[in-house]
Amino acid sequence: MIDGIVEYLAFGMLGVGAVFAVIGGIGVLKFPDFYTRLHAASVTDTMGAWLILGGLMCLAGWTLVSAKLAMILFFLFMTGPTATHALAKTAWYAGVKPLTTDPPEESEGAPPSKP
């Protein structure tokens, strides 16, 4: 009985995680500039990755495999934001300007909602 519930929970987490991952991928293609794409990528890197790994942990149960999955989860949790921040900061210093919707930035010419 309990096993059945845990299995359904695992499959649910895997499915939702997969959907989040694909949506993040679509966002990376669709968004107009570099910084907005970073946000889309962070959807796959947080919810997508965590839910898939969490689902696998539910499938594995209390074993060494689960502990290893938890370790992968922890590494992704720690390194993800650091890598994203490094990328954003380097891009900022390299002069990649973000699209903004504020009025003073009108001189960019392009409407910000351009796909």
Partner: protein
């Protein structure tokens, strides 16, 4: 010294977890490599409260639970924006002032901002974090300072 001991414990746990063998020979190999790793880390002078914040051990799990809920909410918002059923993308750059005293606290705050989808900390300098937000709404949420207070309380309660 406390940090060296905690580093050793963590490394030894990692060894046991990854090897999965509990014979005398392999465990002694583990202790040997543990000694070398901790020795090198001490010599490099990287064993301190920043590389391994022991004093936050009891505060951090509660904060992570709160952060997880925030991340789930932010994820749903960004997902709606991507699919075009939520607020349209209105990229904004704002500056927020962290109220943490130590650099470690500020880094935890900046990392939390980056981890939450919809906001990314571009730069942390002179006690100011430059944040790029996907929508005006997420920028406003950040500007209320709820996350800032959480991190400060966690840091101060240590």
């Amino acid at each position: 010294m406390l940090h060296a001991i905690s580093l050793s414990a963590v490394l030894f746990g990692t060894w046991l977890l990854l090897s999965g063998y509990f014979t005398t020979l392999l465990i002694s190999f583990g202790i040997l490599s543990l000694a070398i790793a901790v020795g090198i880390a001490l010599r490099m002078d990287v064993v301190d409260h920043e590389s391994h914040p022991v004093h936050l051990t009891w505060q951090i799990p509660a904060y992570w639970v709160w952060l997880l809920i925030e991340i789930i909410k932010a994820n749903i918002d960004v997902t709606k924006t991507i699919l075009g059923i939520g607020d349209p993308a209105t990229p904004t750059v704002i500056n927020v002032k962290p109220s943490q005293r130590t650099e470690l606290g500020q880094v935890i705050y900046a990392n939390s901002i980056t981890l939450t989808p919809g906001t990314i900390s571009v730069e942390l300098e002179d006690g100011e974090i430059m944040v790029h937000a996907l929508t005006k709404g997420s920028a406003d949420d950040l500007a209320t300072g709820a996350m800032d207070q959480r991190v400060t309380r966690m840091e101060g309660g240590a």
